[in-house]
Symmetry: none
Subunit: 233 residues, 4 copies
DNA sequence: GATGAATGAGATTTCATTCAT
DNA sequence: AATGAATGAAATCTCATTCAT
């Protein structure tokens, strides 16, 4: 089969799996059902994805890929805008991406939790055999840092064009932005699909607040001062 | 068996399970192994915890309980200090708690991700039967909001004693503090057990930075201004 | 489970398998069906017999065991009779055994065909992994020569008590008796369950004829003469 | 494709299959491997032989054909010799044929075991669909009795020309000869490819002995006496 | 309550066989 | 006809969970 054709089939299967996972969750999903949803046989399904784990990681890979694509799109759109704006836009797009695609955000967060024990490349005890053998696991390792790096690059650009005033290590600022965003996303997730406010507080406000705060911090010296004095007052 | 005796045995089993989960992860852990680690048989294990799910939720419940205990301790210690300091101390203790107990932070975050689809009490599709029947699931629902509420209460106290200057809904401020903290914890998790810096940046700095930032925001009007104008400048 | 209890269950399963194999043949028999026939689950079936092959070999082992038991019974019954009579009775019991138990004779002949490539212990290429791992395969190897040896022993006894006149190597005479008997059995098998005569000739006559011939050859010197002169005249 | 061309290809495939079966056995042989060995694809293989079963039967048919050819050759060569000598030569050629072509002897014996349940034409339960539909199965049925009949014919000729003294039904004598030969072949098979003696007894001796015995029995009245008196003494 | 055996559900594998191009 | 992909049936395995003693 031509590679392109196989890729299309693969994508179809992944979409079917997404639908099934979205409804019943990963654990409850049966390979049989996923195959049926994709209109193929179990064996064919296995010929594309060697294990349920692998299929899951394929979805994770796709999610990460989509997120990265989105980042590139945002960066491209903001290439003439100041680095500061671009950075903030990137973070915003991450939050939106997660809000709009619950399954994707879930697998991504799952993935980042999973690689924890692997981060040093040492202890793979907790990984399933299936995971270790998954080609998508390998692929993921190749791009897992890209989102961070892209964010950092925009902040760096901001430092150069002057929109990001402080001289703090862009990586640190990236981490700050990401931790803020991930925290938001986690809360969103915990609040369910409904736009129902959590504890009577609209979460949308929190997103805007977070973004504005980040923007504020990047565009003046407060952050730098704080780190230097370890004191904000 | 006396209740107290049973409780001790339960605790022993939970500790054994924690050790096993910590080494091989939840999915790879076999009930057989957990029983062996606890020095009992599978059937006895089941007489204590009706399902693997339930055992997991028991650990979750214990984690939440421990976190709440910690919160009460911190609050008690700070009961004469200004509400602001107490609030910040609570958030700090959450971050420390998660850093010190990876397994606990993991199960707590997992739990919060899980209840997402349940938050409205609507869609329980994705919950396992075992989960729905778990007594710990029920118990968890009874206390799951407590950490948030305790945090909010301290902020409220801060508003009353003047240490928290702004008049923003304490719940919102709590959410902000939590999202910040959860974000930090997630990043920590992704960086592995080793205190190795992520992307060459020390994460401890991020914790301090976050806490100082939160303290700063609570103690002046910037937050309020921003929310009112939806603008920080 | 007590060994004896397990043995009983094993025997039950084997009987169930025999019934199924007898009806549909080995290849067409499904493990599921055998389990059902035995009133257990597939998994339980597998916990007793690790593979279909192994189950088959278990039946083979049982068959050989039964044959050997039969031989001992016949020998015991003839222990005061001349060795010649005993030898012939052994051969007759073999033929009867095969006639009465088609499945058993089939598996035994199959087994002897199978070990061919193994006889030197060299080339195990043709054996399935499952076979090589089968405990019954090992057990079979331990007793596979017993029937021959028992036959030879009776002939030897005949030589000593004078009922077997010639001085030919008892092993050779055994081989002759066995080849005669196996040939008969093979023909019987090819003629079906019905006592229907093959090519209009009653096979029972052949059995009697063979036995009488063997008896005759053992009790005079014709055999010896022939071997010595390589000539019967 | 011209018929002749197709026939050649068919023969090539069969030879390839023989090689594969010889190495790994029928059960372990994969159609894939056979196709590869024949230098064609699986689908092409299937266009020649509709099933593995059928391919196997094709080999069986070929074997039987070869055996029959051999018989005709022997008979032709002995057409001026006494019927007795010809009969014995036929039996000898059968034994040699089986010794020289293990695979062929195996499939032939297998075939005769298989038709057992069919002999009355009643119970076809154990036959695979594939077998029932196989054209070679049909062809085999047409010639399966030929070897017996050819043997019987030579014995009959012997009776007429006086070289076979007794007046026993030639069919019975044929059966005797065949059972003797098959028995020998089975033992040979069980003793492996190596000319290693079984139980320290040279099997070649057994072949000669058997042939001489048969010759002896056919050429005097012992056989007849025995059948009539059911007694050899 | 403890123990070993059994169950049930589903994942995974292996092939013979068939389809579509 | 040839090829690569897909099917279907059954074997095998892994575990959480339950039963029987």
């Amino acid at each position: 089969m031509k590679d392109s054709k196989r890729a299309i089939k693969e994508a179809n299967i992944i979409e079917a799996a997404e639908r099934v996972f979205a409804v019943v969750g990963f654990k409850n999903a049966k390979m049989e059902d996923i195959a049926a949803e994709a209109g193929i046989t179990k064996v064919t399904l296995y010929s594309y994805f060697q294990s349920k784990e692998n299929l899951y990681l394929a979805i994770t890979y796709k999610s990460l890929q989509l997120l990265i694509d989105e980042f590139y799109r945002v960066i491209e759109k903001n290439k003439t805008a100041p680095g500061l704006d671009s950075s903030i836009a990137v973070l915003e797009s991450f939050m939106n991406f997660c809000e709009d695609n619950y399954l994707y955000s879930e697998v991504l967060l799952d993935y980042f939790a999973m690689i924890r024990s692997t981060s040093g490349g040492m202890d793979e005890t907790k990984l399933t055999e299936a995971t270790k053998e998954s080609i998508y696991y390998m692929k993921l390792q190749g791009i897992q840092n890209l989102p961070f790096k892209l964010t950092a690059r925009e902040i760096e650009r901001g430092q150069k064009d002057g929109s990001v005033l402080n001289r703090i290590d862009p990586m640190f600022q990236t981490l700050f932005g990401w931790s803020m965003s991930i925290g938001y996303v986690k809360l969103i997730a915990a609040s369910g699909e409904s736009p129902a406010p959590l504890f009577n507080v609209g979460l949308t406000n929190l997103k805007d607040f977070n973004l504005n705060l980040a923007s504020h911090l990047l565009s003046n010296n407060m952050m730098q001062d704080q780190l230097e004095n370890n004191n904000l007052s």
